[in-house]
Amino acid sequence: MRKIYGYTILAVLILSFAASKVHADKLVYNPFYEAVKNISINWRIVSMGYPMEAELSLRNDSNEYLNLSIPVGMRLKSSAPGDTDLIVGRSEAFSVAPHYEKKIRLVTFGLDPRKKSPPSGNVMNIELMSPSGGKIDELLKNSSKDRPSSLDVPDFLDYPTQAAVWKLTTPMDLQMMKDFFAPFVHPKDLQYSAGTYWRKSSLMLEKIGIEEGEVIAKSSGGELFKTSWDFMDLTRKR
């Protein structure tokens, strides 16, 4: 008799554990751009002054744990007309305890070299967009995998990926790349650095099936986030 009760209790314990396991497996990370629409949380994104780095600070005011994910390809749209829009280059998944604040450094890339990076320390007034699933997203997923550890090459110095993004979004040429690097590089190294990043970015684009000539040919706007028809709203009812 005792044995049977013993087995019963054991079985209940096993089943309860299995049930809690099933429950835990169902835990899903809520994509950030969905969560901020659906859940009351306080957040802001601060520019670090480079196109390749931004900081997200987020406070969870709810009574629940928040499990959030920021996918590669999420776009941060700057409201200042002179500042470049940014795209997230590395996915992040994180949890925030109820009533806690968390800071996360985001790897981002500028989308338009003709515009300046949002100034350091500025809170960016942004609009969140889901990933487009296009060639830029594919490029960033690849580069995120290939990128050496952050100790060797800090993400915010990943110039080849930045150059590859620009080649996809703008009519980028070598001169534009030199102009961008001029403030950061000694004049005697400028030709070499710009040339190196140009070649490395071309190789990255070849991996996603885009040839150099094709990049130049299609760079009349291509996947640039803003279009010249941004003012147009054809679903507006008068």
Binding site: T8, V12, N30, S62, E64, T227, T235
Partner: protein
């Protein structure tokens, strides 16, 4: 002894069955949630005919996950506003005491106004309260728009549509495909003539500098996409 072990087995099964509902942690449908007294839901329009169409405000006593299913149609009590169809499954975690979230969809009655923002409603008794009508696939009226929505998404994801309007492109061509299908026998329907007129009007209002060739390309690309969505949706239906 055998009897006792049978009782134990029965008790064990009872315990197992009582655990099952805990594991089946599925989101409840919006329709169920709206008819549950423990969940209070208020819907407000956002004044948009496509994209973010409703703000859903709620109050709950216990946390619950809900899902607004693709194809759910919201019918306004006031007939001067458009019916709205939900374009994809949308989940929300409702946490006490309450909050709000946004849902997306497309308006179905092109000649009527979209669900308005509360501040734009003069008669407060009209505040947009929506009855929830779940979609029945046999209802021809609603099977066409949902088929157009799915086809548009499929074509766009596979790079078969243009992208002149960037992030607004899919929403725009899907809405025009729905509205053109609903009004194609009418002279003032959502046809290519109306599209050209709307594009020209907005360029003039904005004072944008656009060449006739650029306007022609935009119009042709949007209209190609609208036609392709309708064509492929018929093939898939």
């Amino acid at each position: 002894m055998i009897m006792k072990s049978k009782i134990s087995l029965f008790l064990l099964m009872l315990v197992f069955l009582s655990i099952l509902p805990l594991t089946a942690d599925e989101a409840v449908s919006f329709y169920q949630a709206a008819s549950d007294d423990r969940i209070k839901i208020y819907m407000e329009g956002k004044g948009e005919s496509a994209g973010d169409v409703f703000t859903v405000k709620y109050s709950v006593e216990e946390p619950v996950d809900i899902i607004v299913n693709e194809g759910t149609v919201f019918v306004p009590q006031n007939e001067k506003y458009q019916k709205v169809i939900i374009d994809r499954d949308q989940k929300a975690s409702l946490v006490p005491p309450g909050g709000k979230f946004t849902i997306t969809g497309y308006c179905l009655d092109p000649y009527l106004s979209p669900p308005p923002l509360p501040e734009n409603i003069k008669d407060k008794s009209e505040l947009a309260r929506y009855g929830v009508l779940p979609l029945y696939s046999s209802e021809k009226e609603y099977s066409i728009p949902i088929s157009l929505i799915r086809t548009a998404r499929l074509l766009y994801d596979n790079g078969k549509l243009h992208n002149d309007l960037g992030s607004k492109h899919l929403k725009t061509v899907t809405a025009w495909a729905i509205w053109y299908s609903a009004t194609r026998n009418k002279a003032d329907g959502w046809n290519k003539i109306r599209l050209i007129s709307e594009i020209t009007k907005q360029i003039t209002e904005e004072g944008a500098k656009k060449t006739p060739e650029e306007i022609q390309v935009l119009t042709d690309n949007i209209w190609d996409d609208v036609n392709n969505i309708i064509l492929y949706s018929k093939n898939l239906r």
